[in-house]
Symmetry: C2
Subunit: 411 residues, 2 copies
């Protein structure tokens, strides 16, 4: 008799986004003429940069000639891409990260989930609340938690609230924690972390032999020079942090698929006999055994992000979405709503009107303005009373959605 | 203090192919002028079919226009691809498989490893010996085994020998087994399974409530109509088998990356309270949470495999590699070597001369003929005394390699 991984049965029925899709579908079926605008999922809408497209067409052509055809590539990614990433995203900012410490992958979502493969089952794990649901669900799936309570909190995880009360800067854990997920610029709240904030976390991790999983998927939206783009801008982070990055949001790769993870060679953890093990080596083994590298064609597209044209084009994309975010902020504030994020970040985090839950606000927005957003409570118990609006859309959709909200939402 | 997954430390030092790469590199450094020909890794060498390239260029262009741009796709793959797979690869052969039962992924290697995520820790697991190392290593990594012995066998796994003595047809397990890995056409032995053989396994699985992981990555090489391409050609297999497929070997996608896995909706296993759980639902949850789908561009390339032009082009590719295999077989047999496989399969499985181990033969072939193959013992203890030669190469390389072996190998 074959048994299943029972931990999956602890997962709450719907991952947030499928539940949203279900409600939108039901509404659309009842109201086939409703001109729904989706500002829910953080999915880009603007064309892929020309530099990336040109590079990918060239790469497809390479595949047509025996002399330039590419079979299996290195599981870690091609050196020409890893080195460009290291040089541009890290060394240029003073971070001592080498190309060999970069692992190219097909998604930060995959990597933040898969990273747990190389860790033991007995680590104390902290997440912020609200949080990107994948961090939590992947811990549930591998058996790091007990059951969820009614508020959706899983037994065994340590939740660090991140709300207006603490200015969206989670406090350090009171007890000892081993693995800590941090995401800045933050999904879902749009909050950013200063160097001082990150230094506090690096100091904590070093003092407690902890490791930080730093998700910097939205770093490209930082325009204010005071905020760090990488955790490795903080001294000592190389000894206590793994960083996740993606081309999804800076270069519009959500449907093209390329990301990378930095596992510094200096990073160590303990085997059960107390000896040190290099995490770089374990992750390398994991990726070599369970992954075959990203498509050559797609890696060439990602490489083009670092060309002069690519850099100019992604700057244009990011600027465009940030302008969208500014429009959302202004319009909602003008309606008297309390609004956070949306500066140095593509997400606007709205406080729902008093007494209105996140899902009530979702239904209200869908029904009255035909606009889809994401209920804050879907990201965790402390997200209750908040609502996420994504700036990833066309200018027209953003403007129409905001006008409709202003005109039709019964406040 | 962060702990690592200690199971990784049980893995033997080198995955087979890195060890080969190490020896080849060392030899090449000592003999910089040696014209090494690699027939080791099963990596394709011929250009990607034109139909796939044309479709991918069109898809890259789609990404340049807001109206046809694609962001996040379904994690399971686009319906237009899933439906074509179901119709062409299954329904056309009388298998009752629906598009919704197909999960498109970036590699069969990933899927055969990741599939363990959804199963419990207490299943009895059987692999053939020799075997594709990824099946074994991924079981070690998740803690399904104890330590390896000197022959490389891991405690806790059930090994089913597959050698000339049993005509490369493994016997059914004597005890009760829950999960069984089968690969036909076989990597590494090049053996094929008849309908009667597969029926024996399906009957065993149904009688023992077991599940078969059927790796059909090489099915396209079957030209003999008597052999089944899919395990679902056997009645009842839908209730006891998951099938893994890939575009790597039929359409030359090793560097392009696309594959798929079939998880029938009728497939069930038990939770610890004894209730039935649909595996399709668990795998769907796994993929939705830890994967973001394959690149739109690549999926369009895979779709083109099913066009009239694509089908003609992959037929040409497969025929070409099969002719290579026939040349390898003939030449080695003419030298008096015992040779298996290489018919309905791209791998030729050679018995090493009496008293010569697999690694000795590797070193001998490299030194005397400058040809790289794969030592059979690298695939398992029962592979000792065998050697794998891959037919994936240019005609010229195959011919030169065989001529050199004939002339230079000291038998």
């Amino acid at each position: 008799m074959v048994t299943v991984n029972d931990n999956y049965l602890k997962l709450k029925a719907g991952y947030l986004f499928p539940e949203i899709a279900r409600r939108v579908k039901a509404f659309a079926e009842m109201n086939p003429d409703a001109p729904i605008i989706k500002l829910g999922i953080g999915d880009v809408t603007e064309p892929l940069p020309a530099a990336c497209r040109i590079a990918m067409i060239k790469a497809v052509e390479d595949m047509g000639d025996r002399a330039t055809f590419k079979g299996y590539g290195p599981e870690q990614g091609y050196a020409w891409l890893r080195d460009k990433i290291a040089s541009h995203d890290f060394q240029a900012r003073g971070c001592d990260i080498d190309g060999a410490e970069i692992f190219v992958s097909d998604g930060a979502k995959c990597d933040t989930g898969n990273i747990l493969d190389i860790f033991g089952k007995d680590n104390a794990i902290a997440v912020t609340d609200p949080v990107y649901p994948v961090y939590v669900d992947t811990n549930v799936m591998v058996g790091h938690t007990g059951e969820a309570n009614d508020a959706g909190k899983y037994e065994g995880l340590i939740y660090l609230p991140m709300t207006a009360e603490n200015n969206f800067t989670p406090d350090l854990p009171t007890g000892k924690v081993d693995l800590i997920y941090l995401c800045f610029p933050n999904n879902p709240t749009g909050a950013t972390a200063s160097k001082a904030t990150l230094k506090k976390w690096v100091d904590y991790a070093k003092a407690n032999d902890a490791i930080i999983f730093f998700d910097a998927a939205y770093e490209a939206f930082i325009t204010d020079p005071e905020f760090p783009h990488s955790i490795y801008e903080i001294e000592g982070a190389k000894d206590c942090a793994i960083e996740f990055r993606s081309f999804s949001k800076n270069a519009g790769f959500t449907g093209t698929r390329c990301a990378f993870t930095v596992v510094p060679k200096s990073l160590k953890a303990k085997s059960s006999d107390g000896s040190d093990v290099e995490l770089h080596q374990l992750w390398n083994r994991r990726q070599s055994t369970k992954f075959n590298g990203v498509s050559y064609i797609i890696q060439r597209g990602a490489e083009a992000v670092y060309s002069t044209e690519g850099q100019a084009q992604i700057k244009g994309l990011i600027g465009f979405y940030l302008e969208n975010a500014a429009i959302v902020r202004e319009k909602l504030m003008a309606m008297g709503l309390k609004v956070y994020g949306g500066v140095n970040a593509p997400y606007v985090w709205v406080q729902t009107p008093s007494g209105v839950t996140s899902w009530d606000f979702f239904d209200k927005l869908l029904k009255e303005a035909n606009v889809v957003g994401t209920p804050g409570s879907g990201f965790g118990a402390a997200g209750e009373g908040y609502f996420r609006i994504s700036a990833f859309n066309s200018r027209k959709n953003i403007e129409v959605a905001m006008q409709r909200i202003a005109e039709k939402l019964k406040m």
